[in-house]
């Protein structure tokens, strides 16, 4: 006899699981359907198949510029967050020092701060210091937001690996940087890639903080938010949404498969 679930209980819960998955994916399916619908208004009945919304967005210079801008901001801020995250994670995972609990509290605090509060804080800060708002100020904010996520991914991986291999490298005469580059980095690489992906997607999708500190060049979420106010843009925006959602789902699943594969090989 199964101690956790009766046969009926299992049926009930598997049915509930299926319903929840439908609830989660139905809105995405709705976007997919209406991105090919030949009408200015996304509503039933469907009025024929078209790919013109995809053509329209592919030739919309503002939209493409916003996507490019977000890609740049996300690339820079994720690289920065991962670099800072690696430094902090090594200290947190490998060192004992005075005030460690305070330091880790500060490093993880951006996880819980309401983005509205952080957004207006940065706005006031950039005003007070006279730093003009631009993509750089968005990058600065996104590094703060992403940094704790990279630490949460990297520290568990660092504590998993055997410090003996590092000691062996030192004993064989490698300096700290060679030891890091040749021993530690390859061992934590899957976690570094995960951390980078999380930081990249966080930045690419971030609206709340960016809306307060962005300059004249729009990032993709800011373009999207303003486009949502004009119904005439809606079909195009739906087509972009489908592309972004499908691409990110493929990347997520691909990354997860690759990570498992890599960690299995490293464990062997």
């Amino acid at each position: 006899m199964d101690v956790a679930l009766s046969r009926n209980g299992r049926r009930l819960l598997s049915g509930f699981f299926a319903l929840l998955v439908v609830f989660l994916y139905a809105p995405i399916a709705v976007l997919l359907i209406f991105s090919f619908n030949d009408s200015d208004i996304p509503a039933f009945p469907l009025s024929g198949f078209t790919t013109r919304w995809y053509h329209q967005f592919a030739t919309n210079p503002d939209l493409k510029a916003a996507l490019g801008t977000s890609a740049i901001v996300a690339a820079i801020s994720s690289a920065g967050a991962v670099a800072l995250g690696i430094l902090a994670s090594i200290a947190l995972a490998r060192r004992r020092f005075v005030g460690k609990s305070v330091v880790s509290a500060v490093l993880l605090a951006p996880l819980v701060i309401p983005y509205i509060v952080f957004g207006i804080s940065l706005l006031l800060f950039f005003h007070a210091t006279g730093i003009p708002r631009s993509l750089l100020t968005v990058v600065i904010g996104h590094i703060v937001i992403s940094l704790p996520y990279t630490i949460l991914v990297l520290v568990p991986r660092l504590t998993q690996i055997d410090t003996g291999v590092e000691e062996a490298a030192y004993d064989l005469g490698a300096g700290p940087y060679r030891t890091f580059g040749l021993i530690v980095l390859p061992l934590i690489l899957p976690a570094v890639v995960s951390a980078w992906l999380i930081a990249f997607t966080t930045s690419f999708d971030e609206y709340a903080v960016a809306s307060f500190v962005v300059g004249t060049r729009q990032t993709f979420p800011i373009y999207l938010y303003s486009a949502l106010r004009f119904p005439s843009n809606l079909p195009q925006v739906i087509a972009v949404a489908v592309v972004v959602l499908v691409v990110s789902l493929i990347v997520i699943v691909g990354a997860e498969i690759a990570r498992r594969f890599a960690e299995r090989r490293l464990a062997a």
Binding site: L87, L147, F180
Partner: protein
């Protein structure tokens, strides 16, 4: 430094490791919050002229039924969202962790994947679905379930829409901590309960559920915290009845009638509440780990 001299040889010094990340957070996280604090008591202001320490904005806030009422409304909405989300995610996490299904990690990925895609685009999807002439209403009219002249009008731009969309956004995320706490559960405890003639329900109520409580509390906390200060979703699907505390802060800082001093007070109050809750949560998890 409990380590021997030999094992320290060749290591990068701890200050060299921590210097940059900590400096970054102090400059671009701690200092900005301090500036908000100075702004809220008028020690610092953008407007020229004499400025001195005053608690006027704080006094106004604490005696304003509008701002505090809005705060309670947001707390209530966040509590509802958190409770709904945990109630939806728990049975699913239980199924994945304890049914013994071989594909539990694949199914978990199916569940979590939407959370890792764009937040704004998932909100957009609901805007398309819920509008008066949106997908749902037009579907009901088209199939004749409801007359086209009488659409369900409270779907979009309502408190309901905000709660629905936020619950939708958070469910996949919340499944994760609950799954982890149930997956770590020692099944032999359940076998022991069964050997002692506990029914499945008794075993669940007295063994499984208490042991999964840390995951449930973590899930509840990590939904409640961002939801209570939420302003993006209510501004897109909330209309006036879904207007939240976060929207008020955003409006005090935007064009129209900006009042940065009051806005700073509202922001700091929210931050204080979040900080107290975070400390309670940290105490709770530490107490759990200690036992």
């Amino acid at each position: 430094m409990g380590r021997s001299q030999g094992s320290l040889r060749g290591h990068i010094a701890t200050p060299a490791l921590l210097g940059l990340p900590v400096a970054w957070l102090i400059a671009f996280f701690v200092v900005p919050i301090v500036i908000v604090g100075l702004y809220s008591v008028d020690v610092y202001s953008l407007f020229p002229g004499a400025h001195g320490f005053t608690l006027g904005a704080w006094h106004g806030f604490l005696h304003s039924s509008v701002y505090l009422g809005l705060f309670w409304k947001s707390v209530k909405m966040a509590l509802i969202v958190s409770a709904v989300v945990v109630a939806l995610a728990y049975p699913v996490a239980y199924y994945l962790a304890l049914s013994g299904t071989k594909r539990k990690y694949v199914l978990l990925l199916v569940l979590i994947a939407p959370f890792l895609t764009s937040y704004l685009l998932r909100v957009l999807a609901w805007k398309v679905i819920l509008g008066n002439n949106g997908v749902l209403n037009s579907f009901l009219a088209w199939t004749g379930i409801r007359s086209a002249n009488h659409p369900l009008s409270q779907l979009l731009y309502s408190r309901f829409a905000v709660i629905l969309v936020l619950a939708y956004v958070w469910v996949p995320f919340v499944a994760l901590p609950i799954f982890v706490s149930l997956d770590n559960l020692d099944r032999r405890l359940l076998e022991a309960a069964s050997d002692l003639y506990a029914s499945r329900w008794q075993a669940f109520l007295r063994v499984t559920f208490p042991l999964s409580l840390p995951g449930v509390v973590a899930a509840f906390f990590f939904v409640f915290i961002p939801t209570v200060g939420e302003f993006v979703t209510p501004s897109l699907v909330g209309g006036t009845s879904g207007y939240m505390y976060g929207n008020q802060i955003a409006d005090l800082f935007s064009t129209g009638f900006p009042d940065w001093e009051t806005g700073s007070v509202l922001a700091l109050f929210l931050l204080g509440v979040v900080a107290v809750l975070t400390l309670c949560f940290a105490r709770f998890t530490q107490a759990r780990e200690a036992t």
